[in-house]
Every structure is written in C-alpha cells, then in structure tokens.
Symmetry: C2
Subunit: 457 residues, 2 copies
C-alpha cells in the first residue's frame, strides 16, 4: 500500500486535464481590478474561487468587504495545535489586457498551444492560486491535511493592494499563523526551481530645489544666480562616489554584510552578467564595486533617480533659467534599514551639501517599507526546498528579489510572520503584457511540489 | 541767430503735444505679430509708419514683403559721400496684450496718466521708432540732415525675426552703411542715460544620455546599470568647478579678459548686488569667483541648464529606472567665442567624462550666434555719448547686455557693421506685460539726444 503523499501525487498526475479546465474557467472571468467596468466580473471571480474553496472542503469561508474589491478568507484548522498554521496568500485580480490587438488569441478566451495556456492571469496569478488549491485538495483526499491552513486571497494586488493592510489589521486574530506561503513569484526556468527568501524595501522621495522666485531670462540674469537645475544635478551627482557607494550620511549604518555562504548560494543563480545585459540592453553593466549583479539588485541597497524635471523641456530652445528643479529619488533597502532613517540621511546630506544660494525640500512621498528576509533555515523554506528537490531532483535556487511586495511587509508588521515566496511561472510568461501564458509542465510539477511541501511541514 | 542744432532742439521742445498724439495714433493699431487675427492691423501699422516717413521727406520708401509681415525700408542720402551712413533699426510689431483683465486702461486705447503714456508698444518700441522719426524731422527742418540715413523697420521682432536675415541678405547693396543705431534698448533710470555697446552670444544644446533600451523596474534592475538621469546629473555637475568656472576643455581659450578701464566703467552701473537680489528673488547671489554681477551677466560667458527631463515626473511614485535623460544646456558667449567652438568643447567634455555604461549625444539646436561688441571709441558711440551728455548733463552709462539681439549679429555678419544700442524707456516700463507705459520726460530728452547725435556725427 502506498503512503498518503505518494497517493496524493499520483492523484494529481491523473487530474491534469481537469486542472487545466478548472484554470480555464477562472481565466475566462475578466477580473481587471483597475477598471470600474469590470467590477461585476471581479466579484464573479471572487465568488468563483470561493465556490472552489468550498468544494474542496474549506471552512469559515467569507468575503471581507473593502471600499473596492473583497478579500476572500477561508481556513481548515484540523491538524491540531502542535502542527503549523500556514497562510496561503493569493490574488484573483488581473492586469488589463490592453493593447488587445497584440494578443494572438483573445485574453479571456484561454487557449492551449504547445503545452502552454494563453490568457490574462494564467500565470499572474490565477494559475498559482489554482495550483495551491489543487495541491490542498489532493492532500486532503489522501489522508487529510497535516497542517492548518488559512487562505487570504485579495482582489486589488494589481492596483497596489490599497485596502489589504486594513483588512489584515482588522483581522489579526483571524490571521494568526506561523508563516505565509506566497506563490506570486516564479521559477527561473523549467528546470530551475526557486525560492525567494528576501525582498528589498523602498523609500521614495521628492527633492525640490528652488532659486529665483520666477523663471529668469538666462541672458539677462545668467551668471549671477545659482541655477537650481545645475545645483540639483550637483547634489544628485554627490549621492554616489566613484565606486558606486551611496554617500548619504549613515546610510549603511545598519546594513547587514553578506556572508560567504550566502554569496556562494546567490552565486548559483543563472542570472549572470549576460542575463542582465540582455534584459536591460545597456552597453555595459555598472554597479557598486565589489558585488555581482545578483547582489547589486537583490542584496545591496541602491539609490536611483526615478525622474527629473526642470525648466523648459519642449521642442526647441527657450533661454530660461529655471526657478526650480525636482527629482524623484528612491532607495531600495536591505534588512535593518528603515525608510525613516533613510529620510534622515537624505536630509542630512542636503543640509551638508546644498548651497545657501538655493532653498530645498525633501519629502518622502510613499509610506515606504523596510526590506524583509526569511531565514533559509526556517521550517517553511526548508519544507519547500526539500519539496522542490523531490520533484525536480535538484536543490532550488535561493533568490533575494530587488523589488518590494507590500503584503509580505504588511504580514511581517501586523502578524509578525515571515513569507516564503515561490511560484511556478517562467520569466518569459509575459506578465502584465499581451500573450500572457502559463507553461503547463512546470505548473504540474509545482502542484506536486506543494503536495510535498504540506507533507514536509 | 541760433545755429541749426539749437533751432532743432527748440523746435522739438515746442512739439511735445503733437509728438504724443502721433505716438497715440500708432499705439492704437494692435500690431500683434504672433497672432494671425491681427494680420491686417500689422500691415496697417507698417503703412502708417510708411506714411509718416514719407511725410518727413524720406525717399525710396518700400515695404519689402516676407512670408509673413513686411519690412519697411526708406532712406535719405543727401549728406554727401564723405558723411557717414547710419541704418536706423526699429520694429513696428508688439507683443500680445493678454492677460487683458490686468490692464488698468485698455492696451490699444493709449491713456495719459501722471506724465506717462499707457498702452501696448508705447515703450517697446513704437515710442522709440517715433522718437527717431521726430528727431530726424527736427534736424531736417533746420538745415537738413548732416548724415545719410536708411531705415529698416521690421514687423516680426516679437516673434524672433524669422524673416529678417533673408531680407538683409537679399538687400546687401541697399543696406550698405557705416553703422546701425538700434534704439530697442532702454535707459536705467530717468536720470541714468545708457548706451549698450556689447551683447553676449548664444549657443544652445540638447544633451541626451541613454542607458537601458527601455525603462526598467528600479527594484528588479536597480543597482546593476548606470542610471542615465544620475549620469546626466554627474556630467552637468562637472561642467562647473567650485569657483563657478566652466570646465569644458578650451571653453575660455578665446575669451577676452576685461581690462581695468572697462571694469571701472562697468562698475559705474547702478545694477549692484541689491538690484540683482531684488529682481531675481534668490536668497543669495552666486556667480563666477572674482567678478561682479554686472560682469557675470554681461561680460563673462556662462553655462546654464535651461531644462531637465527624465523618467517619471507626474504625481506620486513610480519606481522606474529611466532609459534616458535629457538636458537643455545653453552657453552665453563673449567676444571671440564661437558657438561651433563651444559645441566642440562640449563634445570633448562628454568624450572625456561620460562613462561607457551609457551612450550620449550633443546637438546644437539653434544656429547660435557669437557675441557682438562695438568699440566705445567708435564714431557712433562717441556721438551718442556726447549727445547724452549734452541733454542729461552727465556721461551715459556703458552697458554690456547679457542677452542676444539677432539683428545686431545679422547686420555684423551680413553687412559688416556694428550697432549702437540705446533707447529711452525705463526698466519698469512693463515690457511684454500688462500696463506697458512710456514715461514722457526721458522720452522727450531722448528725442533731443538723437538731434544732437545726428549733429555730432
């Protein structure tokens, strides 16, 4: 007699056709969160997932209303108090499909071609939500769930999760858990399973420099006053030294150094210099001295100019000496750096460096969020790593991603729990773009990996 | 029996009421060159001035047609070949009067209040054209003109004289002369007569810096590529040293040093630091070390950022690492600097300083023009200086202006002649603004000064 784990895996292998048909049903619903025209569809998507959760035996199912799109909650808490409780995070909304004329088949008529399912949301992340659901079902049907699970599936991820924080805050008791599984990431290739254990934080600023009280004629006054655009440029230039280190006072004070073991682990990633050259199109990479591109983008803090605006920017020539200049400047943070500390550093830098012939202001224009990191020795990461090894026959890659995922930070802040990020989409799935697709091979493997994951916990 | 000069002066003093009425007639015509709705009015203004020139005895009067507004030519060449020939330059077009609600009396219903005539164009420069015409008439009526004169009065000055260069080029023989009188400047106070003997030149560039082949996500790629906006900022920052000197290689090679005599002369100007503070509203002046504001703005070359644009500049935060960045950068030039040399300097600077992780381009986006300077020892300047001394009882101030006047450069290039710039408007005449006015006291003095000027030549 085979064990429950093996039985669940075999069951999952027998269900591929149904899995695809189930996913097709969900992808057919145009649950575009940003567009008021789809408000009925997005509720239909929420209710569709709700029905699916009910069908596999989830309990306490509810739609938590928000000012916009509801958050779906469900749980199954019968593994016992000595077993871990896992929140499975997901979102049922999708990006708009436009430009429609670039789709080879209609975005909401999911189409199978060459082992890939084409349709908006197939990979991001309806496919990942359904993979989780299928894995849970398979485990439940074969001996029952060895862990307690709670589902938190929102409908506003593609518009920046404006209401999720409040839902989490208002439902802290409901959402107690040991950690979260967030399958909204991806793997690096069909044969390159990956776990994201770190995300950078973000602090985003507007810097304004003002000089004259109105735009001046550059002939009549040019030479007698400090040009705010030139002064802003000088200030920006001084924010990095020649080695690409950031010069804001105290910026690195709390930054954790990378140890040799972690650098070796990150060195396994296939995203080498050639990868970054190809995906950015630059004539030459450039980053902080002493670190690799993978470290530059995932494990080291950065400061970027996101926008610049001053004076006359239209066609032709206008001989204006601008009254003011503005830069959008953001920093990506690594563990232990806090956005408010960075704001203090930036203000101190301006105090020390801006000349008195101009005035200036610094404003943090988003609430920002610190970085998050989940120990690679945590139960969740170990269980998933082992699961991927079972399915792919190799250790997964461990990634630190450069961007921020607000829900990860919100769960850390409000619930005190770390997140394990994974997913079974591929880098070329065309997320947010025409012809989004899900490659079924690694998706089936992902369902098996999640079955192992629940059994490994 | 009184001499011709004195008789002309006395005659002019007797004509004040008629002079004002004549000017009112001309100001009533809304000759707005930029606005197609006024195309009939602008021709009416040209024909009005044409009639006035005919009435005082000018000859060879013609409207030289252009693709837009005609240039008025007339001459009076009976002083003999041993006498100098002077081109009197003027323009009969005006700026738009908008915003109309800020005018205390309608812009085209000239109104006298407190010895000032309010109306669009009263000072800039219908008043100056009529002052020249009245002076010539007074001299002619009392012994005849002791010089040969040619009038060149255009209708497109307020839109940048797009067709004047071709008119000058096509009529070189007609326009041979010894120098030009250009009364489109002004004096610095009712009791501060002034002659402008120098103008700065202009070279205007767009600098583009490009990095990635598309805008990147600053989280995913930030840290691995050189940010084009940051690199542009660094390049701009390096264009000046800490003393405000321009660092472009060879930029100062041909710059003429200011001698002590000229610096003393410029030091007589009342435009001191307080003046520049007041008119710019800056918290502190800032300029090239070792020079005064008057020198900064008139006699030293400058480099200004006129515009900056990169990435996301709207409301809020977008975490983009921009693919490219653009700056509009212009230099004001002093005698012997040529725009094409400056372009070479700027390109060399970029070659020496821009990093290989970006690409860049430099484009001169206007044809540019060198500086122009008229010797203070030239016959024209000396005659006008002596004339002003006679009327105001003091030496005029000698100014070098920071801006460019294309016609001055065009006459130098095409006709080989220098210009003497003056005018009888005041700094607070509200040129190009609501409630433009002409203060009659200095205007009457200006007519007398021009009578002396013609006799002094």
């Amino acid at each position: 007699m085979i064990d429950n784990r093996t039985a669940a895996i075999e069951y999952a292998r027998s269900q591929h056709e149904r899995y695809v048909n189930d996913l097709i049903e969900l992808v057919k619903i145009p649950s575009v969160s940003t567009d008021p025209n789809y408000v009925a569809d997005i509720r239909r998507a929420a209710e569709h997932v709700q029905k699916k959760l009910k069908a596999i035996g989830m309990e306490n199912i509810r739609l938590i209303e928000t000012p916009r799109h509801p958050v779906l909650y469900a749980d199954h808490l019968h593994a016992g108090p000595d077993k871990p409780t896992v929140i499975i995070y997901g979102h049922y909304d999708v990006q708009p499909a436009e430009p429609l004329d670039l789709w080879h088949t209609p975005p909401y008529e999911p189409t199978l071609r060459d082992g890939k399912l084409y349709g908006r949301g197939a990979s991001d992340m309806k496919g990942q939500v359904m993979a989780s659901l299928h894995a849970v079902e398979a485990v439940m049907k074969h001996g029952g769930l060895p862990v307690n699970i709670k589902w938190l599936i929102e409908g506003e991820e593609e518009i920046g999760s404006p209401n999720l924080l409040k839902v989490i805050r208002d439902n802290k008791d409901l959402l107690t858990a040991d950690f979260a599984l967030n399958p909204d990431g991806g793997i690096l290739g069909e044969d390159l399973p990956a776990i994201i254990y770190g995300l950078r934080g973000l602090a985003y600023f507007e810097v304004h420099v003002s000089g004259p009280d109105h735009d001046l004629h550059s002939g009549i006054y040019g030479g007698s006053v400090l040009n705010p655009a030139a002064e802003l440029a000088r200030l920006i230039a001084g924010m990095h030294d020649a080695n690409g280190h950031i010069t804001l006072p105290g910026f690195y004070d709390k930054v954790q150094a990378l140890d040799a073991e972690e650098r070796a682990e990150l060195g396994r990633l296939p995203t080498d210099e050639a990868y970054y050259m190809k995906h950015t199109g630059v004539p030459m990479l450039w980053g902080e001295k002493g670190y690799s591109p993978v470290e530059h983008t995932g494990a080291r803090p950065t400061l970027e100019v996101n926008g610049l605006l001053s004076g006359f920017t239209g066609e032709g020539a206008k001989t204006v000496l601008p009254a003011k200049a503005m830069a959008k400047i953001s920093t990506r943070l690594v563990p232990n750096q806090h956005p408010d500390d960075v704001e203090k550093s930036l203000i101190k830098y301006m105090e020390q460096n801006a000349r008195s012939a101009v005035t200036w202001s610094v404003k943090q224009i988003t609430s920002g969020n610190p970085a998050s990191i989940t120990s690679r020795d945590s139960d969740g990461v170990k269980a998933l790593s082992k699961a991927m090894q079972s399915v792919w026959g190799k250790r997964p890659l461990f990634r630190r991603e450069g961007g921020s995922v607000p829900v990860v930070y919100q769960m850390k802040e409000e619930l005190g729990i770390d997140s394990v990020l994974t997913g079974f989409g591929l880098p070329d799935d065309n997320l947010h773009a025409p012809n989004e697709k899900l490659t079924l091979g690694p998706w089936y493997k992902g369902i098996e990996a999640l079955i192992h994951f629940f059994h490994n916990l």
